[in-house]
Every structure is written in structure tokens, then in C-alpha cells.
């Protein structure tokens, strides 16, 4: 009974309103994410102004090639994500599955690179707390990494759901929302990479 009433309840929302609401809600959520990272960007700005030499010297210890490769990987993942969203909007379910899988693959590659990169830093004796710069480096890339993992989980759920035939050209809001989130994750990295790796 409860379930039936609930379903009747949900059905009252017009699909167009539902779509617009969901998308608007997602953008608001993106705003909160930016403010969350905003705290770290503020701390970065303040301490970089205060200790320019420290930032310059210590950023040399970061591995620029890996950072660059990871940037390319994430940009590619954004492309495949956008292609996935376009595919399902045209009703192409197989293409959605393909592009979601590719996006997830790129995301995993990013994490694997990051694993080796962090491992390298640890071996060099650089930890959060070693210096303000490395604290910022680990906090910023760490928080970003948590977002990558969260994004991958979302995409994995989308992929699983795409096999049930749930998404079509008529209903694909969750894929689109997942896509917006994934682009955010990508975009934040686009800022982190020059701020941390390319100072000078």
C-alpha cells in the first residue's frame, strides 16, 4: 500500500519539471563543491603569497610528466563522458555503455598514476605536514582524489543501470547529472595541475 501511494506520489511531478529540477539541483551541488575547494584555494593563495620561495623550491620535487599525463587522461575522460551523454540522448544504448566504460577506465588510470606519484613522494620523505606546500599538495590532490573515487562510483552505477535498459533518448537525466559531476572533477584538476606543478 505504502509503496503504491509513494509511486502515485512520485508520478505527480511532470517529467519536464522533474528534469529541470534535477539539473538545477545538480548545479547547486556543484556550487557547494566549488566552495568546499574554495577553502583550500584560499589557503593556497595566502600561503603562496607569504612563502613564494618555499612554493617555488618544493614544487620542483613534484613529477611534472605524471601530472601532465594525468591532465591529458582526465581531459580524455571528459570527452568520452560528453560522448556518452550525447549517445544516450540519441538513444544509442551500446555507445553509452562503451563511453561510460572508457570514462571509468580513464578515471582508474588517473588513480593508478596518482598512487605511484604519492608513493614516490612518501619515499622522498614528503608527507602532509612536511611543509605548508606539501600539506597543501596532499590536501588538495587528496580531496580531489576522493571526488574522483566518488565520481567513479557514480559512473559505475550508471554503467550497471545502463545494462538494464533503463536509459533511453527519453529518460537519461541521471547520466547527464553524473556527467556534470564528472566534468567538475576534471575541471578542478585543470586548476590544481598548474597551481601545484607549474609554478614559476
Amino acid at each position: 500500500m505504502e509503496e503504491m501511494v509513494e509511486r502515485a506520489h512520485a508520478h505527480h511531478v511532470d517529467p519536464v519539471v522533474g528534469y529541470e529540477s534535477s539539473k538545477f539541483g545538480m548545479w547547486l551541488f556543484i556550487a557547494t563543491e566549488l566552495l568546499l575547494f574554495g577553502g583550500l584555494f584560499t589557503a593556497y593563495t595566502i600561503y603562496r603569497a607569504k612563502y613564494p620561495e618555499m612554493f617555488h623550491e618544493q614544487h620542483l620535487e613534484l613529477n611534472k610528466p605524471i601530472g601532465a599525463i594525468n591532465t591529458v587522461i582526465l581531459i580524455c575522460s571528459s570527452l568520452t563522458m560528453a560522448l556518452g551523454v550525447t549517445s544516450i540522448k540519441r538513444g544509442k544504448q551500446e555507445l553509452l555503455r562503451l563511453f561510460l566504460s572508457l570514462t571509468i577506465l580513464f578515471g582508474m588510470m588517473f588513480l593508478i598514476n596518482k598512487y605511484f606519484e604519492w608513493g614516490h613522494e612518501f619515499r622522498d620523505g614528503n608527507y602532509p605536514g612536511t611543509s605548508i606546500f606539501f600539506s597543501l599538495y596532499f590536501m588538495m590532490t587528496g580531496l580531489h582524489m576522493i571526488h574522483v573515487i566518488a565520481g567513479l562510483l557514480v559512473l559505475a552505477v550508471m554503467l550497471a543501470l545502463s545494462f538494464t535498459g533503463r536509459f533511453s533518448d527519453k529518460y537519461n537525466t541521471p547520466v547527464e547529472l553524473g556527467g556534470i559531476y564528472w566534468h567538475l572533477v576534471d575541471l578542478i584538476w585543470i586548476y590544481l595541475f598548474p597551481l601545484l606543478y607549474l609554478i614559476g
Binding site: S21, L35, Y51
Partner: protein, 532 residues
Amino acid sequence: MANHTIAETIPMPYLEEKGLISWLTSTDHKRISILYLLSISTFFIVGGIAALLVRLELLTPGKTIVDAHTYNTLFTFHGTVMVFLFIVPGLAASFGNFLIPLMIGARDVAFPRLNLMSWYLYIAGAIIIIASLLQPADTGWTFYTPYSIRTGTDVILLTFGIFVAGFSSILTGLNFIVTIQKLRAPGMTWHRLPLFIWASYATAILQVLATPVIGISLLLLIAERVFGIGFFDPAKGGDPVLFQHFFWFYSHPAVYIMIIPAMGVISEIIPVFSRKPIFGYKAIAYSSLAIALISFLVWAHHMFTNGISQLAAMIFSFLTFLVAIPTAIKVFNWTATMYRGSIDLKSPMLYALSFIFLFTIGGLTGVFLAALAVDVHIHDTYFVVAHMHYVMIGGTVMGFLAALHFWYPKITGKMFNEKVAKIAWALIFIGFNVTFFPQFILGTEGMPRRYYDYMPKYQPLHELSTIGSWILAAGLFLMAINLIRGLSNGEKAPQNPYGSLSLEWQVPSPPPHENFEEIPYVTDWTYGYGKK
């Protein structure tokens, strides 16, 4: 399919379905509102007991009942619970949830399942905060560094609890913004919206935009304790004042998350019990947004004495004075609404009037504190404690109690005993003033806040304040008993006992599960009193 038809033809009151599971899994905004009401009331009692113990300890100089460390943990716990578990979710999550869909003519909020999830996040945060009592923190609810980095008490668990509860606040705000923008009934234009909706909208913006910043601040504080990242530690080149900036960037807007919904409640109650249209509708509506906007620009007025630059202090002082303008606009308009109205002093109106009176005192003493030269002398004294409680209890709690008495018939379908409600109101009003007015005097005489011990000359006023806290507690107790008794003994409430024109009163008490049999078509604003 048969069930579907039944649900539509015979509207079932939302309270009808029984059983714990049905409550814990319901996505009906009205049921979630009840969940919030019960849980925040519980934490109000928990935080209130801590407050009574703090006041009892301050009855005499030196040790009265507990040692200094326990005292520190008590006021920390009181502050944290009251701020993060009672007053921030307070009106927004409980009455906001109940009223927003009903007032705008919708069947539910935009994201009902997210709404339920928000409540679970709130409870998860609350459980973590309570669990921190195993090794309670002693930093005060502001967690100022460097002390919060060095204390041996459990800051991590407490701040993590606040972090989790913050998600609940963000998601609730997000839900309300989308609901108000997208789900208004046909004809419900922005300038026909009840003012409570405007207030909720302004609050929701603050919740969405400010809360992530406390999230990152507390995460950094936790990282500081776990890894020693050094952002706030001068020994590592960090700056403890930066934490204060981060903290107040959220926590000052949070003050308005607490008070703006209460202002919305007052704007609903005053016209109903004055039988007059609200005066200055647009001024009240936009002043909510103005307060929300300015509130982001005033945070450093908490930091005038900690060595920020003179120029910054002057700018922040000026901006703080600005907040007084939209706030005063509201007070003037409420007063003008009552002018030559036929005022009916029922209990919701009594609470609303107390709000205006006490909040004005709280607001004006805030102007004292915004003035640099004065603030240097009364910073961190009992003057601040009194000011804050005049705004938070005199303002928000009075608004909360006004809302509780005003919408009680709608929410429960029952009436409470009006006579007892008035006696309880009188006790609360007197008790509150006896508790907190002496603290203004204590503060100007130099009694610092948060101190365990004090000079004997302060004792008479401390005694008075503690006695006041007992009267206040007795009043609140009587108020609660009255409302609880109303549930079983009260008469059945009519659809619209106070004669309000707002949409929520045009549906049965309690409202059916689906709110409206048919989505209403709105043709006028909600404040056309006294026309017929």
C-alpha cells in the same frame, strides 16, 4: 492500480499510517518534518540540560558542582548541540519541510528521497557528536586554533559529527531552493509567495553557499590534528587567525540561517492576529535576501581584537552596521502591520510579539558590538553572551515557539489548552529576561565569558541569572507538557482555527498525504485580511 485510485479519491491524513518503519521510510515532507521536530526538540532538551548545569556551576564563585575541566566540556557541549543540532536545522528543517510545499501549492519537495536522506545524515552527525561525550572536547563551540590543535580532548570526533550534519543542512537547502523555484502552483508568482517562503529561500541560499566552507575548515582542523599540516600552527609557518576567518565565513552567515526563518514565521503570524494585510510586503521579502547577501561580508567582526588590520576592522565594522538596515526594515513593517489592527493576543501572537521586543534588544546590542571602540571593551564578555542569547532565544526560539503554537492545529489536527499556553509563555518570557538581562550588566562590568571562576562582586547578578534559568526551564517544561497533552486530550482542530488566508490552512487539519486534491490555482497574495 486499485490502490492508486483509492489514494486519490479518499485523501488519507498524513498521520494515519502507524508503525515505526512507515515513519522511518516515509518520503512525505510532512512526516520528515515531524521526524525533525522530534529530533531537534530532543537535542534542545539535551543542550538545555547542559546549559542548566553551566548556570548552576556559576551560582557561586569557585567550585559549585563540577571541576573546571568538566565545566569547559559542558559549555562546549551546550554550544555545539544547540548550534549544530538544534538551531541551525531548527526552523528551516522542521517547519520549512512541513510548510514550503503546502504554502506554494505543491505535493512535496522537489527531491523527497534526498529529503529523507538529509534527516538520516543529520541523525548520523548527531550520533557522532553525542559519541564524542566519551571524551568530551573543551574548546568551546568555535574550536579556535591553536588550542583546538593542542588539547588532549576529542576534537576530531566532535568536528566530524558537525561535518556530517553539515551535509544534511546543504542538501535540505538545495532541496528547498529547487522546490521554491520549480514547484510553485500556477498563479503563485514570486510576489504572491508567503513571506515565510521568501525567508526560507534566503536561508536555503545561505545553507548551500556557506556550509561547505565550515566543512573544509573542520576537515583542515582534523587534518591539522592527524597529520600536523601546519595551516593553523604558527610553529610550522601557519596562521591560527586563518582558522578564525574560515570558521566565521560560515558561522556568521549561519547566524542568519538560524534567524531568518524565524523572521519568516513572525511575518506570517502578525497579519493573521492583527487582521490586517502585511505592511511593506516587498520590503520584508527583499530584506531577507539583503540580510543573506550582507551576512557573507561581515564575518571578521568576530575578530576585532585579534590583530586584524585597522582598515579591515573599519570596513567590517561598517558592513556590520549595514545588516541593521534590512533587519530594522522588518521590525518597522511588523509594527506598522499591527498599527490600528484588531489585535488578538493568542499564544502564537504573544510569542511573535516577544520576538519583536527581545530581538530588537538583541539586534541593537549587536550594533554596540559592531562599533570598534565599544567592542574592544566588551569583546568576549558576558555582554556578548547576553547579546547572542537575546538573538538566539529571544529571536529564534521565540519564533520557533510561535510557529509551534501557530501551526500545531495544522500539524497535529488537535488544539492545545490556550490558557496554559499563555501561562507557559509568561514564565518563559520572564525567565528568559531574568536569565540574560543581568548578563548585559555583568559584561559591561567586565565579567569575561566562558570563565569558570569569578570575583565575588559578580555573584549577585550570577545568582539572579541562574534563578532565571530555572524559571525559563519551568516555563519550557509547562509549554511542552501542554502541547503533549493536547495530542491526546485536545479538541479536534478545525481546518483554519486562526482564520489565515495562506494555502496550508485551506486543506484539512492534519493535511492529507497528497496535500491538495487538486493543485490550486492562485489568484491573489496571501495577506488580503480585513477586505470583506
